[in-house]
C-alpha cells in the first residue's frame, strides 16, 4: 500500500469522521512514519480550525446599519405590496359589486317588462 492511497482517509480519520477499518491500511499507518506525521499535522490543523470558533471578526461600522436598513426596506416593500394588494381587492370588490348591481337591475327590468306585456295581453 502507498501513502498517497491513504491521503483522503487520513484526513477523515484525523477528524473522527472515519476509522481505518481495513487491516492492511491500519498496518501501513502503524508502520509508516510519514503517514503518522501526516496524522499529526491534520490534528494540529483541526485544533487550529477549532480555535477559530471562539474568534469574532470585527464587522466594519456599516454592517449593522446595513442589516437594519435592509430589513426596514423589505418591511416597507412588504407593506406597500400589502397595501396595493388591498387596493386591488377593493377595486375588484367594487367592480364585482357594480356588476352584480347591474345584473340585478337588468333582471328586475326584464321581469317588469314581462309583467307589463302580460298585463297588456290580458
Amino acid at each position: 500500500m502507498q501513502c498517497d492511497q491513504l491521503a483522503d482517509q487520513l484526513a477523515a480519520v484525523a477528524g473522527g469522521d472515519a476509522t481505518l477499518d481495513d487491516p492492511e491500511a491500519r498496518l501501513h499507518v502503524e508502520r509508516c512514519l510519514r503517514c503518522q506525521a501526516d496524522l499529526v499535522q491534520y490534528r494540529k490543523l483541526l485544533r487550529a480550525l477549532h480555535t477559530l470558533r471562539t474568534e469574532v471578526l470585527e464587522p466594519h461600522p456599516g454592517v449593522l446599519p446595513g442589516i437594519l436598513a435592509h430589513l426596514e426596506a423589505a418591511g416597507e416593500r412588504h407593506a406597500l405590496r400589502s397595501m396595493l394588494t388591498g387596493r386591488r381587492l377593493a377595486y375588484a370588490g367594487g367592480i364585482a359589486a357594480a356588476t352584480a348591481a347591474g345584473a340585478a337591475g337588468m333582471l328586475l327590468y326584464a321581469s317588469r317588462g314581462k309583467r307589463g306585456s302580460g298585463a297588456i295581453a290580458s
Partner: protein
C-alpha cells in the same frame, strides 16, 4: 452573543411581531453571523451582503423556527445557505499567493510565550489558507471543522449530497494541510512533539 434563554425570549417576542425584539436579536448576533459569513465568503463585501440577506430570510422564516435547536444554529444554517447562493452567483475566484515558509508550528500556546507567538503565526497562515481555498471547499470545512455543523445539515444547506460534502471536506483538509504546512512533514520531529494516537 446573548445567553440562549435571553435569545429564546427575543425570538418568542419577534415571532409575535415585536420588531424591536428582532432588532435586539440582530444586535446581539450580527457579529457572530458576520464572522461566519466572512469565513464562508472570504471577503468583507460579500460577507456584508450575505449577512443582510440572512437576517431578512430569518425574519421572514421566523414562524418556521421550531426552537428545537438554538437560534444561533438555525441562523448559521441560513447564513450557510445564503453564502452558498451568493457565491454561486459570483463568478470571480480568489486565489491569493501563499507564504512559502515550510516551518511547522505548534498550536498549543500554553507551553510558553514562543509557542503562543507561533500559534498566532499558524492562525494567520490558516486564515490566509482558508481564504485561498475554492469557495465550495472552504464552505464545507468552515461549517464542519470550525462551527461543528453535522454533515447532514451542511449537505442540506449547500444543496449537495452528504457523501459529496464529506469528499469536499477531506479535500479541503488536505489542501489546507498542504498550504499551512508546506513541504513533506519532518516525520521524526513531529512525532517527537506529539505521540500519535491509535488509528
Amino acid at each position: 452573543m446573548t445567553e440562549p434563554t435571553a435569545q429564546a425570549e427575543l425570538v418568542a417576542r419577534s415571532r409575535e411581531g415585536d420588531q424591536a425584539a428582532f432588532e435586539e436579536l440582530v444586535r446581539a448576533t450580527y457579529a457572530d453571523t458576520y464572522t461566519l459569513a466572512r469565513r464562508l465568503t472570504g471577503n468583507e463585501e460579500d460577507a456584508s451582503d450575505v449577512v443582510q440577506e440572512s437576517y431578512l430570510r430569518a425574519y421572514r422564516g421566523l414562524h418556521r423556527f421550531r426552537g428545537d435547536a438554538q437560534f444561533s444554529t438555525w441562523l448559521y444554517r441560513i447564513t450557510a445557505n445564503c453564502a452558498a447562493s451568493h457565491m454561486g452567483k459570483r463568478s470571480r475566484r480568489r486565489t491569493e499567493a501563499l507564504p512559502d515558509d515550510d516551518a511547522v508550528i505548534d498550536v498549543n500556546p500554553e507551553r510558553d510565550p514562543a509557542a503562543s507567538a507561533e500559534a498566532s503565526v499558524l492562525r494567520d497562515r490558516l486564515e490566509t489558507a482558508l481564504e485561498g481555498l475554492p469557495d465550495k471547499l472552504r464552505a464545507v470545512v468552515v461549517l464542519r471543522d470550525v462551527y461543528d455543523l453535522p454533515h447532514e445539515a451542511i449537505a442540506a444547506e449547500l444543496g449537495i449530497s452528504e457523501s459529496a460534502a464529506k469528499v469536499r471536506l477531506h479535500r479541503a483538509r488536505r489542501q489546507l494541510r498542504d498550504r499551512v504546512f508546506p513541504g513533506r512533514p519532518d516525520a521524526i520531529s513531529l512525532l517527537d512533539e506529539e505521540a500519535p494516537r491509535a488509528v
